[in-house]
Symmetry: C2
Subunit: 414 residues, 2 copies
């Protein structure tokens, strides 16, 4: 019988094997006391199963509050649990309830983190994954055999549609491949969505008519459900080529529904993700997270960047890059979106650790605040990537590209 | 000008006032480097403002990893930030991006928790809040002037529609007010949603025809977006009176869209909530969480219970009960759903600390596993509540109700 499996990092002051059984029981046929209908037959067929327990270190401090019992020693372990597919069926939010549900609430655990999960191959029929992914985005943006270079409209809020369009004009002329709204910019009174789309797309089409290059602009369609659908329609009418969504606030099922339309790549902004992952014994790993969003059908997903301005260590960023490009069911890979304090200097370490050019490299301030102007900022990043792929070191690239040299002087701290 | 305000608990090794400004900047007009368009005029109009900083204790260990800089001492503080309404408009997911966004990622912070937020009164026009709430649920369930007594179908998974209906028959005869699917039971092959609805509602209608009492059954409609809408239609056709949704996996905008239909109360199951709240310096307080879901329009929201089987302390549960019944905008209060290891014994402490009967009191095992059978289980809980409201102590109630006495002997550990 087909089974769903999940791997967790757990921490408990109690007997490990017993706690693993409680966890499995909570997420299938059990409750806090034996109930009449829980027959042996039913248990045999529907109970979740503890597949593996791998002991890790013990610690002397509980990672999370509210744990009950035990001796003051906390055992960590990696455990694998499985469920019959029949418990859930092909139902994405119900799958999430099964994988996570009330587990974070268990008083027997002083830590729980969903590390990864795997699904039967038969999920692919209902959840084909990204419609565009890397290949579709490249086709629409007309960029092959190098990373897509993008930027974010800054300041995040406060610009009118006309001011935004002016900035887009400058960025188009600077040779950018991709521009996006900030996640704080959706549909405020000072920049109504429809007006922004009209103003920006006029510039983008004019530039495309002139040069043959249509810059991809990811408009933030984040809104109530019906408005998001209308925003998507607006993008189609305006011949825009990308829809951005703040996936955590919008939620899994609405994003899935949008992605199923399949007419525009979905640029998935993961704002809010920090609360789900920053504590090492809580929430989940990006490995699991990106699988959920691949099932929902997003195409481009944020992964932070090497030497970012946020808390996340480089190792974690590299793992996320790898996760996006790993096979999952029979779907195509996600296009990872690298961002946060990026200016080109990180291209070398990024490529060394993730030797692929299938990524969207975003620089906000790194382009807008380049001393030579945004065109120099774009050229600097393009040069950095070209030389990084060619195997040059940062200092060698600086010697060959004055624009990149200027970036190092302005932004280089790593 | 109307402003949105939010209160956070933060922890930082750096200078507090400076960090509060970084936080405000990240969530409005700033980025990691000054950019040309961020003029003084724009800043004056759109920048988030630090309204208040209240110093709390210092600690010597960082609550979250990845913090950069500082002296090894971590200052905690409560801070209040405000934004012009104009930055966001009336846009629920964009509001969430503004309140939370990338804040959990900031390397300047070793802890961040959203405690509460407040909105201009003008939000009420677009977000009227619960359509049913306490009053609407009472009307549909025909229960006044006492708590609604409910239960969960257990085992959670594995029962066929016919077996579920049989259990519903028993529970109806036992005098229950409310029954719900488990959050793990949505639309699996062994209990297809439509068949379960048909089988269960046949029993419920027959019971109503016989006795005049229509038991409220919250069917778990959790599924992909279109299927949820169809499931909702199925409930209307079957004259069911409640739709249950796993709100975190389904997501804010899809739940909002469902609630806007306004034909059925939405029973909001908060599974997954633990990962957002269990760490005291991460995620958010229930006070903020329930406001988001009131904006989305849910009617009944889980709050855990006194002396629950999970990690949560009673103080936190009481705070959640109070939050659900507190005024918010001009909407009506939420009906709090009390559950987790409940069997009636907790009625006394629950009523002492939250002297209201406007709640839905769920007991799963507490009813199904009562030694005298489920009817005795329901009677025991009803007696416990009646005597608790009358001011009796648990022991006094036990003397007057043999059913409750049997519950104490079976479940009483607190």
């Amino acid at each position: 019988m087909e089974r769903i499996t999940a791997t967790y990092l757990i921490e408990t002051p109690l007997e490990l094997a017993r706690v693993a059984e409680v966890l499995a029981g909570e997420q299938s046929s059990g409750t806090f006391v034996a109930v009449p209908g829980e027959t042996a037959e039913l248990k045999a067929r529907y109970a979740a199963r503890v597949e593996q327990i791998e002991m890790l270190e013990t610690v002397t401090t509980s990672s999370l509050p509210g744990v009950r019992g035990g001796s003051g020693k906390f055992q960590r372990a990696r455990i694998r649990i499985s469920w019959p597919l029949e418990n859930v069926g092909y139902n994405l939010p119900a799958l999430v309830s099964t994988l996570q549900g009330n587990l974070y609430e268990l008083a027997q655990l002083s830590g729980l983190r969903l590390l990864d999960f795997d699904l039967p191959a038969s999920f692919a029929a209902k959840f084909p994954g990204p419609r565009f992914g890397v290949a579709g985005t490249r086709r629409l943006a007309g960029v092959n055999e190098r990373p897509l270079i993008g930027t974010i409209i800054k300041p995040s809020v406060g610009l009118s549609p006309a001011e935004t369009a002016e900035m887009v004009q400058t960025l188009c002329e600077a040779g950018i491949d991709f521009i996006k709204d900030d996640e704080l910019m959706a549909n405020p009174p000072h920049s109504p969505f429809n007006e922004r789309v009209a103003a920006v797309m006029k510039v983008i089409h004019a530039h495309a008519d002139r040069t043959g290059k249509q810059v991809m602009y990811a408009f933030n369609i984040t809104e109530e459900f019906d408005t998001m659908q209308r925003n998507y329609d607006t993008l189609l009418s305006a011949r825009a080529t990308c829809a951005m969504v703040s996936i955590n606030p919008v939620g899994l099922t609405a994003v899935h529904k949008l992605a199923q339309r399949g007419e525009l790549p979905i640029h998935a902004h993961r704002n809010g993700w920090g609360q789900l992952t920053r504590h090492p014994l809580l929430g989940m790993e990006f490995t699991a997270y990106q699988k959920l969003w691949r099932l929902a059908g997003v195409d481009q997903l944020h992964v932070n960047g090497i030497a970012n301005k946020f808390w996340e260590p480089d190792d974690s960023v590299v793992k996320s890059l790898e996760a996006c490009s790993s096979p999952f069911l029979s779907g195509q890979p996600l296009l990872p979106v690298v961002s946060s304090g990026q200016w080109g200097g990180q291209a070398f370490e990024t490529y060394r650790r993730f030797p692929s050019q299938d990524l969207l490299y975003l620089a906000g301030g790194g382009i807008a605040a380049h001393p030579g102007g945004p065109a120099a900022g774009v050229r600097a990043i393009q040069s950095a990537w070209r030389y990084a792929v060619d195997g040059l070191k940062l200092e060698e690239a600086a010697e060959r590209s004055p624009d990149f040299k200027a970036s190092i002087e302005k932004f280089g701290r790593s």
